[in-house]
């Protein structure tokens, strides 16, 4: 009984230390745990991009800040890589100020790998104020007069035939929370939308998946790893899944042990 009492009063710093080790050790000593099964909402995004004809355009929208990069950056990079592999043009926008640099980083990294040219195969339009998701439905060129580097959008070959959502094969919104595109791009302009979201926000978006207002959903690191596997380019998402799985296992054990300790000590008290 003393053991259970000790467990129920376990110092939280010991739990912190255990989680710390559960995350760190698999990063240092790679385990390569298998990632089994691809979730249908992730596969749906992959299939949609696969079916887009060469030369189509995908709009990548970055609505997250560096704080959620560990979850969202791998999936951002994976989708951009997929587009470049398929010779699909990428237009990147940021609905939040801190997303501008993240978009630039992902584009540069993927462009180098697939030998893509800025302004021709991809562009980072950066950040803009006001009702941007609404404005892009009317005229992207008016909403974003210049790109991130100040070059006039009208002069960019990649933007020549991209005026509104109608010219975009898929919007992929990467967001730390909800997406602002459902009400505007999807409802008003019938655009195809997929969302990459932190695991925290994933549950909120499932109703929209069920009503087909979004064509696909990537929620958290697991989805990023799955997408990397789909494009056969395992990267940070897959590597991080070792730590994620071990930490989840530890937390599951802690929940079970903690609950047993709680009920045992409560019965003793009563």
């Amino acid at each position: 009984m003393k053991f259970w009492e000790m467990l129920s009063k376990l110092d939280r710093r010991i739990i912190f230390a255990l989680v710390f080790l559960a995350v760190l050790l698999p990063l240092v000593f790679k385990m390569g745990l298998p990632i089994k099964g691809i979730q249908p909402p992730v596969k749906a995004i992959y299939d949609h991009i696969e079916k887009l004809p060469e030369g189509s355009t995908v709009l990548i929208s970055i609505t997250y800040s560096p704080s959620t990069m560990p979850e969202l950056y791998p999936m951002t990079l994976a989708v951009i890589r997929h587009c470049f592999r398929q010779n699909i043009k990428v237009v990147c926008v940021s609905l939040g100020i801190t997303g501008v640099g993240i978009g630039e980083m992902a584009l540069q990294e993927a462009a180098k790998e697939y030998n893509k040219q800025e302004g021709v195969d991809y562009v980072n339009l950066g950040f803009q104020t006001g009702p941007v998701t609404l404005g892009m439905g009317q005229d992207i060129h008016k909403t974003y007069p210049t790109d991130y580097k100040g070059i006039k959008v009208a002069e960019l070959p990649v933007m020549k035939n991209v005026k509104t959502y109608k010219d975009i094969g898929l919007i992929v919104d990467y967001t730390a929370s909800g997406t602002g595109y459902i009400g505007t791009a999807v409802t008003m302009y019938n655009a195809n939308l997929a969302v990459g979201v932190t695991a925290v926000g994933a549950a909120d978006l499932y109703p929209y998946l069920q009503t087909k207002q979004i064509i696909g959903l990537m929620g958290g690191l697991r989805s990023a790893a799955e997408y990397e596997l789909l494009i056969e380019k395992p990267d940070k998402g897959c590597i991080r899944m070792d730590s994620q799985s071990i930490a989840h296992l530890l937390i599951l054990i802690l929940i079970v042990v903690g609950n047993i300790a709680y009920f045992v000590t409560r019965r003793k008290r009563t």
């Binding site: 990063l27 501008v100 950066g126 803009q128």
Partner: protein
């Protein structure tokens, strides 16, 4: 160990923020103020170069689009808040913003979040999921019905509603554990990879 000065700055700032886990201290305070200041400064610079310059200053002074002066004036009314005698003028700007936001959002919310979701709820009950969706939506809506006391059938259905809500919260919890662990992974990768080179790729 990293030789890049920026990696060192980022690592030391991360450690300063983590020191809050022990207790509030000057290192945390310094990092907090630096974070707030840097984020506001970054916002101002990006907003100026990406929004104010191409969408306001250039259209007015280079392209002669003088119509832009009117929304600019409405925006400038916010400055009146610094002068107590005229601060009522800022209400015009706020009213403008509220009016536009409501006008844009109301039809879109009704269309995207109400009617589409209603359509998604009224499905033929061919599988367990569609049955659960209908029962769940009805019971949760009854829980949020404020015009009747929770007694009798209303009490029973609202209790079922609470069950559905709690299951939803459980799913959120699970997802959040995943999210938080991912964030920790990111930081540890940086500290033990980019900074002290213990993690190798």
């Amino acid at each position: 160990m990293a030789t890049d000065i920026y990696v060192w700055i980022a690592a030391l700032l991360t450690l300063s923020i983590y020191s809050f886990l022990y207790k509030d201290n000057p290192l945390y305070k310094a990092a907090e103020h630096l974070f707030v200041g840097a984020s506001v400064g970054y916002s101002i610079v990006i907003t100026y170069y990406q929004a104010v310059l191409p969408r306001l200053i250039n259209p007015i002074f280079q392209e002669g689009d003088w119509v832009m002066i009117f929304p600019t004036l409405i925006g400038f009314l916010m400055v009146s808040r610094f002068f107590p005698k005229y601060d009522w003028l800022s209400r015009i700007t706020i009213a403008f913003m509220l009016g536009i936001s409501t006008g844009i959002n109301l039809p879109l919310i009704i269309q995207a979040s109400l009617l589409k979701q209603l359509q998604g709820t009224m499905l033929p009950m061919t599988d367990i999921n569609s049955i659960l969706i209908v029962i769940g939506v009805l019971c949760v809506m009854i829980y949020f019905f404020f015009s009747s006391e929770h007694k009798g059938i209303v009490n029973t259905t609202s209790k079922i509603g609470i069950l559905f809500i709690m299951v939803g919260f459980g799913a959120s919890f699970g997802y959040t554990v995943m999210a938080r662990i991912s964030l920790l992974i990111g930081r540890l990768e940086f500290l033990f990879g980019d900074w002290i080179h213990l993690i190798k790729y």
